[in-house]
């Protein structure tokens, strides 16, 4: 989805404002928002990609004018409504011990696959010019651009298929994941900083070979 969460390259937000000696939380409700998000996530009624998609589907003005924990809370409300967990009646709150064990665990999305990776380190690839209406992790600024595979990161659950609407069963068939590096000039044109390179994490369906295969 081409949403306002896809911020890379916009120039209208002014300077970054570091906060000296920033506290972990600024308000008590932020503590609770974080903890509720993790505690409900542990109930297993939705996955991380559904969470991200719920946040990114907020109305643009709401997204941009909300603090990050506010975005989390609003996204959570969407997921609670969509999965009807308040009405299910068979779910049990996780204990502190269970939650701490959960956040200490390696909940990786890496999965075994019988397929071989299509691309290898050093190979040139083009990020496809995709504009899906659903969830995706391919930032707009990289679409259509040519880069180089700098690492093959294993096969991982593919967010675009994992972020099904709340309550539906996700498709967790993995795809190979690559780190793809682009020059600043490829992304931002001839006036870009010549010393700049930017890499993105790209799943195999986001990429096509260079030169392009016959269609």
């Amino acid at each position: 989805m081409n949403g306002v969460h896809d911020l890379g390259g916009l120039q209208s937000f002014g300077p970054v404002l570091p906060e000296p000696d920033e506290p972990v939380f600024h308000e008590e409700w932020e503590r609770r928002a974080l903890a509720i998000t993790l505690a409900l996530g542990a109930l297993g009624q939705w996955n991380i990609d559904q969470s991200r998609h719920a946040r990114e589907s907020l109305p643009p003005a709401t997204y941009l004018s909300s603090s990050y924990y506010e975005i989390w809370v609003r996204g959570l409300e969407t997921l609670i409504a969509g999965t009807e967990i308040m009405e299910q009646g068979d779910l049990r709150a996780r204990t502190g011990e269970e939650l701490l064990a959960g956040v200490s665990a390696q909940g990786t999305y890496e999965r075994p696959t019988a397929r071989e990776p299509r691309y290898a380190e050093g190979q040139a690839v083009r990020a496809r010019d995709l504009n899906p209406v659903g969830h995706t992790r391919l930032p707009r600024y990289a679409r259509g651009r040519v880069g180089t595979i700098v690492a093959v990161r294993g096969a991982h659950v593919f967010p675009d298929r994992n972020a099904v609407p709340p309550g539906e069963v996700p498709d967790q068939e993995p795809e190979w994941l690559y780190t793809v590096e682009f020059t600043g000039r490829e992304l931002w044109g001839e006036d870009a900083d010549p010393t700049l390179t930017v890499s993105v994490e790209a799943w195999e369906p986001y990429l096509q070979p260079v030169p392009q295969e016959p269609r």
Partner: protein, 214 residues
């Protein structure tokens, strides 16, 4: 446009008999109450999570990793080839750090980490991200003008230094190993760790010099 703070203030001034809670405070309290009544969350369990992320997990973990890499060449090599295992060996494992990659700053190359789409961040080594990391200004600017971002943090690098930005989308989390400051040959690992700031491990800052830290 009115902000939550505005609402809260007017609310308070106009109707002092009403709640002094901000709208978000009231909203999250209501949510927690409902979820608790339905048996979906346990307030004591929420306290335990808050405690973990407010006091135990934080950039001191990452600083220990960096200081070890500065002092132990074999550990540095391990960190650069298998960061997940090297970091786990120091006890830093968990959510949002499942697939770690360490990238090293050198005289020729400076690394910076961002998540343009959301707020991906290596929790086990850096804790929860600061507000600026999650805010639009940083997420938009880091990939197109990282030197401008560095200037916002008061950092200037030579024009010829390569700037490498890692837009960390979801699965892989990056830790920057900042350059070891000069004049630190005699420092212990703990003294070195005190020079490693959170921002230096994101790439928006540099490690402190021993004079700057004291």
């Amino acid at each position: 446009m009115a902000t939550d703070a505005d609402h809260g203030q007017h609310h308070h001034e106009d109707h002092p008999e009403f709640s002094e809670l901000s709208p978000m405070d009231a909203r999250v309290r209501a949510l927690e109450t409902l979820l608790t009544e339905k048996g979906l969350v346990d307030p004591a369990a929420l306290d335990a999570i808050v405690e973990r992320y407010e006091t135990e997990v934080g950039p001191h973990n990452g600083a220990q990793v960096v200081a070890r890499a500065w002092t132990d060449p074999a550990y540095r090599e391990w960190l650069l080839t298998d960061a997940t295992a090297a970091i786990a060996s120091l006890g830093h494992v968990g959510r949002q750090g499942e697939h770690m990659v360490a990238v090293e700053n050198t005289a020729d190359r400076h690394n910076m980490v961002v998540c343009t789409l959301c707020s991906c961040y290596p929790w086990p080594v850096l804790g929860l991200p600061p507000v600026w990391y999650k805010a639009p200004a940083y997420r938009s600017k880091a990939v197109i003008d990282p030197r401008g971002v560095l200037a916002d943090f008061g950092v200037t690098l030579p024009d010829e230094t390569e700037i490498k930005v890692w837009d960390s989308t979801a699965e892989v989390r990056y830790l920057v190993i900042p350059r070891r400051p000069g004049g630190t040959d005699d420092l212990t690992e703990d003294e070195l760790a005190a020079l490693v700031t959170r921002d230096s491990m994101i790439g928006t800052g540099l490690a402190l010099s021993p004079q700057g830290a004291s």
